[in-house]
């Protein structure tokens, strides 16, 4: 490990100076580390430091003025930012678990199917390959209450579907449905993990009298938990950056195109699809309040880090408990 190498005692000369061999060794270590150090510095340390710096300024991309904590104070009263935060956390709390559970369920089902398994795998995986913009546009049209095939069929059958994407109460559930439809990414890694669980464990458990639930709880779950952790962590990070589907769904449902001269307010209907990254983008690249956008970026950074640490700790605790 690189960190271990750095802790090795360096040979010192008579006057306490680092010997030539020691210096050479240190340079060698640094040379090996340099690609990582360059990447870390360029893509993490510098952006982080610059973001913190700009967050104390009024910066419109052309002029820059130090404003102290003004941008942070503005955040406290920015209703749109809090709406965006609530919406994003709603998606993290609902969409991520749903996708992981649904992906696990589908994968579990696919491991049991004897005929037509390949076709079903393709059926569940292909929606994930469709570009998000096309998929979202299609989804909004398919669920359009006036002309969409699903609402029309539902009406013929004597019931009505909710007005997804035009009703503030149903817009996020609509986006969640879209997320479940494109569950292929989660499904495929969980399927691989499930197929890797040794059959002998199930056989031994069955001989000991373990039922289906006990086998799932004490064999399947602990074995696939690292993959579940991966799916949950990447799912949380992706959802904290949820942008395209929400932006496109809002625009298409509102009948707004990005035409020159049109005014655009993200979040249709009624701010229900306004996510935190959309608000960050709007403040940074439409209003050009870059200093304030940096405050929003820092908030997102802290939340993403907190979620990741929490999830990793939970899964590690769960795996450790099962190992005992």
């Amino acid at each position: 490990m690189a960190s271990g190498s750095l802790r090795l005692p360096l040979r010192r000369g008579r006057l306490g100076t680092v010997s030539r061999a020691g210096r050479r060794r240190r340079l060698r270590v640094l040379a090996f580390l340099s690609p990582w150090l360059a990447g870390f510095g360029l893509f993490f340390a510098y952006p982080l430091a610059a973001t913190v710096y700009f967050s104390f300024t009024r910066y419109n991309l052309f002029t820059l003025k130090y404003v102290g904590l003004d941008n942070y104070r503005y955040l406290l009263h920015d209703g749109d930012a809090w709406t965006a935060m609530r919406n994003t956390l709603w998606l993290v709390a609902v969409l991520v678990p749903l996708r992981v559970l649904f992906g696990l369920g589908v994968a579990q089902l696919l491991t049991r199917i004897r005929r037509g398994g390949n076709l079903l795998r393709a059926v569940f995986y292909v929606p994930y390959l469709i570009p998000p913009v096309s998929a979202t546009v299609a989804f909004v049209f398919v669920l359009n209450p006036g002309t969409g095939p699903f609402p029309v069929i539902a009406r013929h059958l004597g019931f009505s579907l909710p007005d997804f994407f035009n009703d503030a109460a149903w817009a996020k559930p609509g986006l969640s449905l879209l997320g479940l439809w494109a569950v292929g990414d989660v499904m495929i890694i969980l399927l691989a993990a499930l197929l890797n669980v040794p059959r002998s464990l199930y056989e031994a458990a069955a001989i000991d009298g373990a039922g289906a639930w006990a086998r799932f709880r004490h064999i399947t779950l602990p074995t696939v938990s690292p993959v579940l952790a991966f799916a949950a962590v990447t799912g949380v990070i992706e959802t904290l950056q949820y942008f395209t589907q929400a932006m496109v769904a809002g625009k298409v449902a509102a009948g707004q195109a990005d035409l020159p001269g049109t005014q655009f307010a993200p979040g249709y209907p009624g701010g229900s699809t306004l996510t935190f990254p959309q608000w960050l983008y709007d403040e940074g690249f439409r209003q050009f309040n870059m200093g304030y956008a940096c405050v929003l970026a820092l908030v997102m950074f802290v939340i993403a880090m907190a979620f990741t640490l929490l999830l990793l700790r939970q899964f590690r605790a769960f795996a450790g408990e099962e190992a005992q």
Partner: protein, 441 residues
């Protein structure tokens, strides 16, 4: 364990850090001199027009310029939005000339320096700004910094479908409009709207708040630049009229009607399809009517005014396309020559106005006999010349206050979720003022 904690921290940092890079990308460009106007060169011009007849009109105007300046080749890039323009300037690779339909953003561009100050060019070319009407001179500068020139203008008025009007005359007041809208509306057996007399919702295309509230005399901002929604009786008058007519239709019916509308700039537009009897729209619709609905017999008139304000009848919302030189443009001198030609040459403006169906922006071109626009167009020339016509004031954060008001109207007011109107408007004032302060206003 220390190692696992370190790893977890590293994983979390790497994951969370992805969101930060967006905030710090790019670098600002600087002012550049570039080659002299007489040298052989190619300039790149970004504009927002996209319809085939609009794009051709710009190409024709460029052909006239190329005859005068054969050494300058103009490369046109159509369908450009303000966001793309600003991001190109920010990215340090802007075109030489940019144009925008968003007059409200002039304050933002002038104050930030995103568009270069043209005062020196105007003085150097001995250009007389009095050749433009006063409102035009106003909306092309911000606090004395003139960073834009006017390239055609837009004026708003009332379009009415003569067949659907059933012999009625266009309304002059909002009371008359309301009565006529109710009279001309045709409903389906289930109560939904088949033909709307007039659709008041701010979500109906050009019935956005700035176009209709201006008819009520909304001031938008106080003289010292603060939000004036709560204190402005014209804003409340607009909102109450809007809500009362929406309630007459039924909000659910309005929503259904709005969701069934076609595209604004295609032949599926409901006015062109005969699904609305009257609509407020820009002068450009005359051109679209010619191209997309030549069989529809329609008339135009100034948009109505509130009762008791007869003197203001004839005025309307005006705005305009603006053109300028972005910060970092490589061929500044040639860019200015192009802008000067396009914005002041009567022949070019008249040709352009005829082709686009827009209002020309110089006094000479407004009265040019060369204007060959349909008879319905006269309404818009008159609205444009009317001294009571108004536009929304520029601010350091563009039309953010208009967007916020539009959001309030469509998300809270029209669905009936706003509660106490005075309190809601005071809250809106607070939001707008805080946002203006954030942008340095």
């Amino acid at each position: 364990m220390r190692t696992s904690t370190t790893r977890r921290l590293a994983a979390a940092l790497a994951a969370a850090g992805l969101g930060l890079t967006a905030c710090t990308a790019g670098g600002s460009g600087g002012q550049s001199g570039g080659p002299k106007a007489e040298e052989k060169q190619t300039i790149e011009v970004w504009h927002g027009w996209s319809a085939p007849h609009e794009v051709k009109a710009f190409q024709d105007a460029v052909a006239g310029f190329h005859k005068l300046h054969p050494n300058i080749t103009v490369k046109l890039v159509k369908d450009q939005t303000d966001d793309r323009i600003t991001n190109a300037i920010r990215g340090g690779n802007p075109p030489d000339v940019v144009s925008s339909f968003t007059t409200d953003s002039v304050g933002q561009w002038c104050q930030s320096g995103a568009w270069q100050d043209l005062s020196g060019d105007i003085a150097g070319s001995k250009l007389d700004l009095n050749q433009f009407p006063k409102p035009v001179q106003q909306y092309t500068q911000y606090k004395g910094r003139r960073c834009a020139m006017p390239l055609l203008a837009d004026a708003y008025g009332l379009y009415y479908n003569k067949a659907l009007m059933k012999g009625e005359q266009p309304p002059r007041t909002f009371s008359e409009l309301t009565a006529l809208a109710k009279k001309l509306t045709v409903r389906n057996p289930d109560g939904t709207i088949k033909v709307a007399g007039f659709m008041p919702s701010a979500q109906y295309y050009e019935h956005q708040v700035q176009h209709l509230a201006t008819q009520f005399g909304a001031k938008w901002l106080t003289p010292d630049g603060h939000a004036a929604f709560a204190a402005d009786p014209a804003v409340k008058a607009y909102l109450q009229w809007d809500k009362s007519l929406i309630d007459w239709y039924g909000y659910d019916n309005v929503k259904k009607f709005l969701h069934s509308m076609g595209q604004e700039f295609e032949s599926s537009n409901p006015f062109e399809k005969g699904k609305v009897a009257m609509a407020v729209d820009g002068e450009w619709r005359t051109k679209f009517m010619q191209e997309e609905a030549p069989k529809v017999d329609y008339g135009t008139a100034p948009a109505p005014v509130p009762d008791g304000q007869d003197a203001r009848y004839g005025s309307g919302f005006v705005t305009g396309t603006v053109i300028g030189i972005p910060r970092g443009a490589e061929h500044r001198a040639a860019a200015w020559e192009f802008i000067r030609y396009l914005t002041t040459d009567t022949g070019a403006l008249v040709t352009f106005a005829n082709a686009l169906g827009n209002v020309p922006t110089t006094i000479a071109s407004l009265s040019s006999p060369g204007l060959t626009l349909p008879p319905q167009f006269k309404t818009f020339l008159d609205v444009f010349k009317n001294p009571a016509s108004a536009t929304t004031p520029p601010t350091p954060n563009g039309n953010d206050y208009v967007v916020k008001f539009q959001q309030f109207v469509q998300d809270q007011w029209e669905p009936g979720k706003a509660g106490d109107l005075d309190k809601a408007l005071k809250d809106l004032d607070g939001k707008v003022d805080a946002s203006l302060k954030l942008a340095g206003g």
